[in-house]
């Protein structure tokens, strides 16, 4: 991993080839079909691509850990919405009125804390009751969404703070604030999963849980930490996004889990756990955003976007299987 060059990346994960293919396709198709004078692969457009990948991307990093660990989290969309509400409610709260813009770090902290806490609830239930994470988070997907509605009924929660909006819209070294968050999170999670004991143990647990238990790895706490991490990241994603937009509908974040899982699977992470790469997950996220952007660029409508994304997901799964098939004489089970 010392010399990360493009070639190694391509070999390691076909997702980058897919992205390349998308870029070429949309550039060529765009030059015939698009109304825009600017090319699809314009630098500004690519920078925007990264920025727009951030809300899904930041959470996807958490989902990658969870899935590598052998679990799944269906509740992230609802966690995202709750964190957003906490952020905006805190900023409008009369309690912090005298603080001026100093309310911002408090609001951020509160949102991140709540996100982490919700993750911890999922982790704790899965750990202590032994109920499968799929079911635990399917339940909390409903439950957390219920909590979202309890804040403000079915009304949106809003608070526009222009200092915050300016911060969120800023560009540093050409990259948007959201992009920086995405990149830093990616780097941090990459480091966590590849260089630390926690990360390596998470791989081991996903790979062979029995073996990990026998080796004395405490499966429960690792699982709990991972759920707290994804809760934190879902909240971070909300913090970054809603700092800029300033208003959350109670339905926001719905179906995010589906997009996120799609991105992680496109990135090559196995649903059975134990294998998966953080960099390829970033690739999966970018591939989906690129697909959406590209289809919009060439004038495809909603129905087409849905059809194409659904089909590509199945196609990738199919190709992955075809590539890994060993031959006609394999055992047929």
């Amino acid at each position: 991993m010392k010399s990360i060059n493009v070639k190694v990346l391509l070999k390691a994960s076909p997702i980058w080839i897919f992205i390349l293919f998308e870029l070429v396709f949309f550039s060529v198709a765009g030059s015939y079909l698009s109304l825009s004078d600017k090319a699809f692969m314009d630098v500004d457009n690519m920078l925007l691509l990264l920025k727009q990948s951030a809300p899904i991307g930041i959470i996807a990093m958490g989902m990658a850990i969870i899935m590598i660990n052998g679990n799944i989290d269906l509740s992230v969309g609802a966690t995202f919405a709750i964190a957003a509400i906490v952020l905006l409610e805190t900023m409008s709260s009369p309690m912090f009125e005298g603080l001026g813009d100093w309310v911002i770090p408090i609001a951020w902290g509160a949102a991140l804390l709540v996100g982490t806490l919700l993750g911890a609830i999922n982790g704790l239930i899965a750990w202590k009751t032994g109920v499968d994470a799929f079911i635990v988070t399917l339940g909390s997907m409903l439950g957390f969404r219920g909590l979202v509605f309890m804040f403000n009924g079915e009304n949106p929660t809003s608070h526009l703070n222009w200092t915050l909006v300016d911060f969120a819209e800023a560009q540093f070294l050409g990259l948007h604030t959201a992009t920086w968050f995405l990149l830093v999170v990616t780097a941090a999670i990459w480091y966590l999963m590849n260089r630390t004991v926690h990360g390596r143990n998470a791989y081991a647990i996903g790979n062979n849980r029995e073996a990990a238990v026998n080796a004395g790895i405490r499966v429960g706490p690792h699982m709990m930490i991972n759920f707290m991490l994804i809760g934190f990241l879902a909240a971070l994603s909300a913090v970054v996004f809603y700092s800029e937009s300033g208003s959350v509908n109670p339905n926001d974040g719905q179906l995010y889990e589906l997009w996120i899982i799609t991105a992680v699977v496109l990135g090559g992470t196995k649903l059975t756990g134990g294998s998966g790469s953080i960099l390829s997950t970033l690739g999966g996220v970018i591939a989906i955003q690129l697909l959406r952007k590209g289809l919009g660029h060439i004038g495809a409508d909603t129905s087409t976007v849905n059809l194409v994304i659904g089909s590509i997901l199945i196609l990738v799964l199919f190709l992955d299987r075809q590539i890994n098939i060993k031959g006609r004489e394999e055992l047929k089970v």
């Binding site: 990990a212 026998n214 055992l331």
Partner: protein, 501 residues
């Protein structure tokens, strides 16, 4: 002669699970530098005892004493810290990770803030691998290793700490002879360093080759310990099952019938090549060879689970084409597979349903399954095979290994096959049930069934077979008639020493 202080003592260990008294006052002591065999039938409490020793279970009563100090161990890491190391029977590795990460699983060296110290990790692992004389290094991914090499990784784990006691649970199940020798060298090294070794195995020849003392458990109770040199197989068996075991083979006293199954020049991919043999009705043909020699793959091809690449299969003189297990079943071929829990049974299903699974389409009343007829089948085979279960409603997952295996055999016998293929019929089954199953196979043959027995245990093939087909690396090296087989020439045939006969 003064007795050295035991490195490990167990005193009156009691462990109960809901409804079961798994360990009932077990005492045991392991001396430094001795190899101590622990034996017992399946369900005798060996695994529970080992889990107590490994810190996975905590005893309800009694004490674990390490170096004359009573200890309480809450988890495998604490056990390891006390110098008790456990080598598991079933491969317990994370395949996607490197060899080094597996060897130090659960205790990766760190350098602050939870960061892994890769340099130290690789260095230490390579040092251990060098001792084991293996041909791979610390950075290799486990998934790229052969099964035998994976077992060596498992063994390497024992050498990561200053072990006082190392427990081996059936370590040789998938090792070649050469690898076994390395393992035994490792064990004698440990011995030389005054480490106590607990060795669990069903394989008598190994027990008598390397152990100093033998302790026996039966039904969760300690039956006593004897010096290995003071006893023999018969003696140990008697301690284990509480009675004498009749191991002598009765010559087949029935006439062999026509050729039931013939295989001509059969090949399938890289698994096996140009295999030919015949099985007559009334005959038991044993297939013997190392793991990976292609025996199981032949069975799978005959049963339609694998495509052949060339050659032909003849049943009662007619060429047949078996594309799926369904085809095989319809033509009267049955397969009792190698992996009882993975391939033979649906553990969450009851005994009756498991037994009638292959013929569930045929025992019907109108569109429904005829449950009465099913129960009749179950009753018949429960009686004839002496299956011990509270009733047909019992989930097979709750039965002992031997009874589970009998359910699988019953399942295929009830199909009234012409050819019965049995793959590793007694793997993981205790001695008592083993001999019952051997008798059963002989009896079936005497009733005119053509039987193929695949086994990795030499005594077993020699005991049950009329003829033995020896395989090495996907090819048949020699076919032995009943009279001409000896341990020596059989070992030669399966290790590639003797050329094609």
């Amino acid at each position: 002669m003064n007795t050295p202080t035991p490195v490990l003592r167990l005193e009156n260990i009691v462990k109960t699970f809901p409804g079961v008294r798994a360990l009932d006052g077990v005492s045991l002591s392991v001396l430094p530098g001795e190899v101590h065999a622990l034996m017992g039938e399946n369900g005798a409490g060996k695994s529970t005892l080992m889990k107590v020793l490994g810190g996975i279970h905590q005893p309800d009563e009694g004490q674990v004493i390490v170096n004359e100090r009573p200890v309480v161990m809450n988890g495998p890491l604490e056990a390891k810290a006390l110098g008790i190391v456990f080598i598991h029977q079933e491969l317990s590795l994370a395949e996607e990770l490197s060899v080094a990460e597996n060897v130090y699983l659960g205790e990766l060296p760190t350098k602050g803030f939870g960061r892994v110290d890769w340099h130290e990790l690789y260095q230490k692992t390579d040092a251990i691998l060098a001792k084991l004389k293996v041909g791979f290094d610390a950075k290799t991914l486990v998934k790229d290793l052969s099964i035998a090499n994976q077992q060596m990784v498992e063994i390497a784990r024992a050498l990561t700490v200053e072990a006082k006691v190392v427990i081996f649970d059936e370590p040789t199940a998938s090792l070649t002879d050469a690898e076994k020798r390395v393992l035994f060298d490792v064990i004698s090294d440990l011995q030389a360093n005054d480490v106590g070794v607990v060795y669990i195995s069903h394989r008598m020849e190994e027990i008598f080759k390397i152990t100093d003392r033998i302790s026996v458990l039966r039904d969760g109770q300690y039956q006593g310990s004897v010096a290995t040199k003071d006893t023999d197989e018969e003696g140990v068996t008697q301690m284990m099952i509480g009675r004498k075991l009749d191991l002598t083979r009765k010559e087949s006293n029935h006439e062999l019938g026509k050729i039931a199954l013939e295989v001509r020049n059969l090949s399938s991919g890289k698994a096996f090549n140009d295999v030919s043999f015949q099985v007559r009705s009334g005959e038991v043909v044993g297939f013997y060879g190392l793991v990976g020699a292609g025996r199981t793959e032949i069975a799978e091809t005959l049963f339609g689970l694998r495509n052949k690449s060339s050659g032909e299969i003849l049943l009662n003189g007619e060429v047949i084409d078996v594309k799926s297990p369904r085809d095989a079943i319809e033509k009267g071929i049955s397969l009792v597979p190698e992996d009882r829990k993975g391939q033979g049974l649906v553990l969450g299903m009851n005994c009756r349903d498991n037994m009638t699974l292959p013929q569930v389409d045929d025992i019907t009343a109108g569109p429904f399954v005829a449950e009465g007829a099913e129960i009749a089948i179950f009753d018949q085979y429960r009686d004839s095979l002496d299956i011990r279960t509270p009733g047909w409603k019992q989930d097979v997952g709750n039965l002992s290994g031997g009874n589970q295996q009998k359910i699988v055999i019953a399942k295929w016998l009830s199909m009234k096959p012409n050819v019965l293929i049995v793959d590793e019929p007694t793997r993981g089954i205790d001695v008592g049930s083993k001999s019952e199953i051997h008798k059963l196979l002989r009896k079936l043959a005497s009733k005119g069934l053509a039987v193929i027995v695949i086994s990795s245990e030499m005594p077993e093939v020699m005991h049950v077979s009329d003829r033995i087909v020896a395989m090495y690396s996907g090819r048949v090296t020699r076919t032995f008639e009943c009279g001409e087989v000896t341990e020596d020439n059989l070992v030669q045939a399966i290790s590639g020493v003797s050329k094609l006969a």
